[in-house]
Assembly symmetry: C2
Homo-oligomer: 91 residues x 2
């Protein structure tokens, strides 16, 4: 029986890749008076639901989504969490 899973996906630039947006935000924060801030890196956070037979299948699907569309594996890393959504499913 298929089940709905909630996925939370984090896409981040690889550490070796420059992050101009992060640098700009860091500069902005410092100008606002947050002088102790450093190492600002900006990534994407994606939430979605997916239906699958098992949690393993849901994880495999999300991994493929990241690899094929959500992240650019050349310059980005990704990681994700998958949880079954609790639903009142009649037997």
């Amino acid at each position: 029986m298929s089940q709905t899973y909630q996925a939370q996906i984090y896409v981040t630039l690889r550490p070796s890749v420059l992050d101009p947006a992060g640098t700009a935000v860091q500069s902005g924060l410092q100008q606002l008076g947050f002088t102790g801030v450093a190492g600002v890196r900006i990534g994407k956070y994606v939430e979605l639901t997916v239906t699958a037979e098992t949690e393993a299948e849901a994880r495999q699907q999300v991994d493929q989504m990241c690899d094929r569309l959500l992240a650019n594996p050349t310059i980005e890393n990704y990681r994700f969490e998958v949880q079954a959504l609790t639903e009142g499913v009649a037997a």
Copy 2:
């Protein structure tokens, strides 16, 4: 003694706000064959470090950063985690 803290910040659109980018990504995923995907919402994920005297002070700083620059409180929610970075600090 001041200490460096690592913050992980998640900025998401409020549920009542339309997310055209999420809709476009969902459509793209479905065209790639992921027909069971739904509810795609795209947010921002920010990593940074901040120096502060205590973890409470670090949390307060990050909360202010979110409120003043990183998130738009009118249309976005945010949440964050803060951990002390383990360093070899001489007494």
